[in-house]
Symmetry: C2
Subunit: 334 residues, 2 copies
């Protein structure tokens, strides 16, 4: 289990019970039947994962009138949505491994991976449309999550089409807002909505999730750089190998004109070689030596402060305490 979850579970036993229930619900809703899609769903579920989005849903759902059944179904639905996007992302990235397990595309090929992701999306829809709360809340929650998903796919397309080029800082921020922060925001807003919060507070919960998601993704991009330390000469799995320039690399290019030139050259070769270009490892090592960690952390910290400010505008209580504890355990997440 992810270490941040262990701490959270100890401190909030009710949340721990909910998370266990969400996992049982996912296994039952996705796994019952024993045919290909169900077996594949169980395999993906057993790979674990942080269950960060369910935590956000369940925390936000405790900001108001906590409806246990609705909140658990919503948390399971959001995790299934997230799983669906991962299965399709792994097709685009030709990824072999995820959470230490073979990806669907690696194990079964593109075709079955397309349908696995589609089916997970539909199962999520079933969880959402069948969840226990009042129908007007359910519809609003669905609408909010559909908006979030549109941002996710738009962000993924932007990132895909922007490969091989150095993005502006704004373009990078838009991308991670779409690919990560939008679903964090959707999870928090949907959770708050399920608890009957008024629209203004639902939006604040959404902004908390978005800022959290931005901080999370920036930190994730930095970790990817720092942990790629042994990758020189080896086939690194860093984003740069896929032509994606993340924030730490962007920071290095802003700090050092020579680095920017070499990065441009690399990306030109990347284009010319249809996505296969050597030399990423050396660029990563140079970026590390340029000390981009500090500057990247500063930006991540700014979003974390935004998230904290949003929290202060939300109702006090266990829900807010869960969200605060989750945010402050950001550094333990991977």
């Amino acid at each position: 289990m992810a270490s941040f979850q262990t701490t959270l579970r100890k401190r909030f036993p009710d949340l721990a019970a909910d998370l266990d229930a969400v996992d049982r619900l996912l296994r039952r809703e996705l796994g019952a039947g024993g045919r290909f899609l169900q077996e594949e769903a169980l395999r993906l579920l057993s790979a674990g994962g942080k269950r960060l989005r369910p935590v956000l849903v369940l925390g936000s759902a405790r900001l108001g009138d906590f409806d246990q059944g609705a909140a658990r179904a919503l948390a399971a639905a959001v995790e299934a949505l997230h799983m669906a996007t991962l299965v399709h992302d792994d097709i685009i990235d030709s990824a072999d491994k995820r959470r230490g397990q073979d990806t669907s595309v690696h194990l079964h090929g593109v075709n079955l991976a397309v349908y696995t992701g589609d089916w997970l999306l539909v199962k999520s829809l079933q969880l959402l449309s069948g969840a226990g709360s009042a129908t007007e809340i359910r519809t609003a929650v669905l609408h909010r999550l559909a908006e979030a998903l549109e941002e996710v796919f738009t962000g993924e397309v932007d990132q895909y089409q922007g490969r091989g080029a150095i993005p502006t800082l704004d373009a990078y921020m838009d991308r991670i807002r779409g690919k990560t922060a939008a679903l964090f925001a959707g999870a928090c807003a949907a959770g708050a909505k399920s608890a009957g919060l008024e629209d203004g507070r639902v939006e604040t919960a959404g902004r908390f999730g978005e800022a959290f998601g931005m901080a999370f993704q920036i930190r994730d991009d930095l970790m990817d750089l720092l942990e790629s330390g042994d990758a020189i000469g080896k086939p690194a799995s860093h984003d740069l190998e896929k032509g994606n320039v993340t924030l730490p690399i962007l920071m290095a290019a802003e700090a050092d004109e020579g680095f920017r030139t070499d990065l441009s050259d690399y990306l030109d070769r990347w284009h010319g070689a249809s996505g296969q270009a050597g030399g990423a490892g050396h660029l990563l090592a140079r970026a590390r030596s340029l000390g981009v960690g500090e500057r990247t952390r500063t930006l991540s910290e700014r979003f974390r402060q935004d998230a904290l400010q949003c929290l202060e505008a939300l109702p006090e209580g266990e829900g807010r305490a869960i969200l605060a504890a989750t945010l402050s355990s950001l550094d333990e997440m991977k």
Copy 2:
């Protein structure tokens, strides 16, 4: 425009106005924005198509209290769902053309086609969750369509995994129930639900749609065989080339033991050659000469009669007349 639609439009001017409104709605909801996904949606919309599923929604929605706004949004949503499944199907089939236009996968590659389909699914969800009718009806409609979609993807996986083998008649029926009839059923049930029909009649409308879909797909499979007449020696696009054995071929195998043996040999070669095996054209010609058309038509006709029986149990009026006219124009559809 498909010829069956011309006839329907002349006879039912209100339906014609609805269909025009649905197309405008689709263009506005999917096409506004001018970025890649929107441009691609407009391109796919402009390829036309029969708009058969919107007709089924709009006909069924006139079986009770017709709510124009809700019915049009629902019809647009169901067409967007259908488009999403086509975009992903074309990936699996490596199809170059659909409705005379380049497919998304052919024009933009697998990766962007995956996201295009995902995005269409999400836009459909937005149309559904934002549609005008009462929220309890909206939730029920969504739940019904999510069930239909699950059948679609399960059917597609079954078909994909069953390639290269001769299915039983039951297995063939299950497959086309999933890949085609489930969404026909969902369209009719959702339309009827949007009109406030009681659950029993909603189910009858669903069974009408399912039987119609079965008749439609069987007829489509027969047309594919009959129109593959010039394909000997050319790279035919018939299902058999993809290892899929459809009803007419199954009928030929049941009628002629020698044909069955040669079909098995072909499928063995198909497996051995990773989906590339010559000889399908000769098998298709032999199937035609075995006169399987009549036997296949008999089965299709049986489903059409089932659909007619369901219709008789539904409330009389323009809605039922539209559904009846659509069913009886089956022979003009392609």
